[in-house]
């Protein structure tokens, strides 16, 4: 951090004694960032350029002017939160309004480049080549037609030279070294004595290549084969024939609410979405209920004054929390395996059962809940032990003297006292499980699949894993649609987050009021 760099001077404010030194450092860093922003803008990444520019401006203002001294401490954290959290979140939402997917992956310029670089190779002219070093440059040797080119630089810029009959050069580069010059070879045009242009057609051959598309206007391409004109459609992000037939690849364009309409109106999407939505809530709620009940029960038993070996029990009970989660989940994935898993082996030996943990939706859900409670109860137990200690003993004693049973004491005295401080943590646990991607991805990957859906959706998919699958697995990188669903998740999370905020405020007020 810059603040740390600013001064070893131990008992003096950094910069107070040497303001010019500080200003110089700030100016150098600011200029470097400014240059970076300009560079990003030049290579067609204006968005990143703008972000870097904003960070640079904030940095120079806050660290340059003395009146913002206090803000210097807040700047790194706030900048990090804005750049690393707020920006990706906003960008995800924006992507939900675009058609970004494997079909519309590129920028407009890149799309034109890709289309115009496509060519049809004339097999009659295709022939192998070799590269011969020649002073600082190279010559291309075509052994089949015994033609040797003029010297070329192969510096990855467009080059056009002629070929003339010649004799084989003494020294030729090995194919491996020739491949290193690929970029230069690809931008090279060789003209034969009979006026045919040859271009690099593969790793080892040159041939006459006719481009499939030629750019004939600002937003127009002409297809060489039939002279058909294709125009750019900025609504759909494709070049289209006059009949409206799209030619892939396309580029990214904003499509407004199309993705949201798909979610709400397409039956093949809406059906599985509803069931996934319901399961996500059920999963999060049941997980929290499960870990809270198990954790609290264990904590109550561990608090019992007559129990021995408390420390040993405690250490063993928190083991599931101590082992890295991804390892435990994968262990369970193996243990629950339907064919070779140890759990089915034991169940078969004892009861003759072989449950289909991974192919039956309901059993898969039971398995997920079991694993999640196994993973999560120790945390709740540890928290509960802390809160239980804070419950005054004399209340319990008084109730017991009045003749209340221990169960009654627990439910009427203890529980009401620990619920308020516990509530924010339970809400946070709910939010955590609502987006518990690691568990679902490592245990079931959302499977088994719901039959008859347009897009792959699983019976155990939660919203977050569903978007993960849409974007990064088997269904063609539908980033736009995934972004749209993420916006729905954001709305839910924002509501939970706000609920937590209110609960926290209440808990804080209660404590200070006591």
């Amino acid at each position: 951090m810059t603040i740390a760099d600013a001064g070893p001077a131990p008992l003096e404010s950094p910069g107070a004694r040497r303001p010019w030194a500080r200003l110089a450092v700030v100016a150098v860093i600011g200029l470097a960032m400014l240059y970076g922003a300009f560079f990003l803008y030049q290579i067609a990444q204006p968005l990143f350029g703008a972000i870097l520019l904003a960070v640079a401006t904030g940095f120079v203002v806050i660290f340059g002017a003395n009146r913002f001294y206090g803000a210097r401490f807040i700047f790194p954290g706030v900048a990090a939160v804005l750049v690393f959290i707020a920006f990706p979140v906003a960008y995800t939402i924006w992507l939900g309004f675009t058609n970004y997917s494997s079909f519309n992956l590129l920028s407009y310029e890149r799309t034109i480049e890709v289309l115009t670089s496509r060519g049809t190779v004339d097999p009659a002219t295709e022939q192998p080549f070799a590269v011969a070093p020649d002073g600082d440059g190279y010559r291309i040797w075509l052994p089949e037609s015994e033609l040797l080119s003029e010297p070329v630089t192969l510096a990855a810029e467009e080059e056009a030279v002629t070929l003339a009959p010649g004799t084989a050069p003494l020294e030729l580069l090995s194919p491996r070294d020739a491949i290193k010059l690929r970029a230069g070879l690809q931008s090279l045009t060789l003209t034969t004595p009979d006026e045919i242009d040859l271009r690099n057609a593969g790793l080892r051959t040159f041939a006459s290549v006719t481009p499939d598309y030629v750019r004939t206007g600002e937003s127009e391409l002409t297809r060489s084969a039939d002279g058909l004109k294709l125009t750019a459609n900025h609504e759909t992000g494709f070049f289209e024939t006059p009949e409206g037939e799209a030619v892939p690849p396309g580029w990214r364009v904003a499509v407004g609410f199309d993705n949201f309409e798909r979610i709400l109106e397409s039956k093949g999407v809406r059906g599985p979405m509803l069931s996934i939505f319901a399961w996500t809530f059920a999963f999060a709620a049941l997980s929290v209920l499960g870990v809270f009940t198990v954790g609290l029960t264990l904590a109550v038993i561990l608090q019992w004054e007559h129990l021995r070996f408390k420390t040993l029990y405690r250490i063993l009970l928190i083991l599931p929390y101590a082992v890295p989660g991804f390892i435990s989940i994968l262990v369970f994935r193996g243990l629950f395996n339907q064919n070779f898993g140890e759990i089915n082996m034991i169940l078969e030996a004892l009861f003759g059962l072989r449950p289909d943990w991974f192919t039956d939706g309901n059993l898969a859900r039971v398995m997920i809940l079991f694993v999640n409670i196994w993973l999560g109860y120790p945390y709740m137990m540890l928290l509960a032990m802390g809160f239980l200690q804070a419950v005054p003993q004399d209340h319990k004693k008084a109730a017991a003297l009045e003749g209340a049973s221990s169960l009654r004491v627990f439910f009427t005295i203890t529980l009401p006292q620990i619920i308020p401080p516990f509530l924010p943590l339970l809400i946070a646990a709910f939010a955590f499980n609502f987006n518990n991607l690691v568990l679902i991805l490592l245990l079931t990957r959302g499977g088994p699949d719901i039959p008859g859906t347009v897009i792959p959706a699983g019976e155990t998919d939660i919203l977050a894993s569903f978007t993960y699958r849409l974007a990064f697995q088997d269904s063609g990188q539908q980033f736009g649609l995934a972004g749209a669903i993420t916006l729905l998740i954001f709305l839910v999370v924002a509501a939970i987050s706000y609920a937590n905020f209110v609960a926290m405020r209440r808990a804080a007020q209660k404590r200070s009021g006591r």
Binding site: I74, L95, I327, F332, Y379, L383, F472, Y498, F501
Partner: protein, 296 residues
């Protein structure tokens, strides 16, 4: 509770221990199983829960060594477990150091520096900390895909990209450390101020030394958070030699290449050190957790 008859107490004690032991058997079953499997022959072996012909094959492979079976066939390690471990540890250490630096200074600022709009920023921070980074995966992929065209060291399949994403953990930890700083007596900073210390010096010479325990907690928590991440690393890392443990381990249990025994040994090898660190730190972790969460 207060007056208990000895007979009742005895029954209760037996019931409590019985429940605990039964529960522990259920809970610890996976640990016993995985140890047993790691010494079992083959990768599909069904049958005995206790290995009949214990073998060190899976352990050799986990340590990246070739293993020669009794019949002379040589088995090579399927995956570079130690390399994955090193990747995970390296990324975890660097990212946690960054998280620690950023969140400590921010926590001090939020706890002590008087600045306009602080309450608003705090509320915003509290709301935003509930949004896990994994939700913005699509954007993260798109961002680093584009950055990769600027420089491959910041693109997809680079550790630097992964570390940058993990820095987003700070929100939660700012909260934890701030809770700790809030409990420090304000008389301390008053005294420092009277002696002429600037806020930076108060931070450097008073708060930083005081915060060492909570910083250790945050470092361990952040480290474990990084090690445990699967979604982000699975999206950003493509090649096998750059994978972290969490992404790599999943390859073992692929439907088409199921290496149950090899996985067991690799899982114990990689899980044990982290588990030990956690058990040592857990006493401090829990107080840090509940303090950070409750002190608003």
């Amino acid at each position: 509770m207060i007056v208990e008859r000895p007979r009742d107490l005895r029954i209760k004690k037996i019931a409590a221990h019985g429940f605990m032991l039964g529960f522990l058997v259920l809970i610890l079953f996976p640990f016993f199983m995985i140890v047993s499997i790691s010494f079992r022959e083959g990768n599909f072996a069904t049958g005995a829960l206790w290995p009949e012909n214990p073998t060190l094959e899976h352990w050799y492979l986990a340590f990246g060594l070739d293993y020669t079976r009794a019949d002379g066939t040589v088995v090579s390690p399927p995956y570079p477990v130690l390399l994955w471990m090193w990747n995970s540890i390296k990324i975890g250490l660097i990212a946690s150091a960054g998280v620690l630096a950023l969140s400590t200074i921010s926590a001090y600022a939020f706890s002590r520096i008087r600045i306009r709009g602080k309450q608003g920023m705090l509320d915003g921070l509290f709301l935003i900390q509930m949004f896990p980074t994994t939700l913005a995966l699509v954007a993260i992929f798109a961002i680093f895909d584009a950055l990769g065209e600027v420089s491959p060291t910041l693109g997809i399949n680079s550790h630097a990209a992964l570390i940058l994403v993990y820095l987003s953990q700070i929100t939660l930890h700012i909260w934890t450390i701030k809770g700790y700083f809030d409990s420090v007596d304000t008389a301390l900073d008053k005294a420092a101020e009277i002696d002429g210390a600037t806020p930076w010096q108060t931070f450097r010479y008073i708060f930083l030394p005081l915060a060492v325990p909570i910083m250790a907690v945050v470092f361990v928590l952040s480290f474990i958070g990084v090690i445990n991440d699967y979604p982000i690393a699975s999206v950003l890392i493509r090649s096998e030699d750059k994978m972290t443990l969490a992404v790599g381990s999943r390859l073992y249990l692929n439907e088409f290449k199921y290496l149950w025994g090899d996985f067991a040994a690799a899982a114990i090898l990689s899980g044990l050190p982290i588990t030990v660190v956690f058990l040592i730190a857990q006493r401090y972790l829990v107080s840090g957790l509940s303090d950070g969460a409750v002190k608003g």
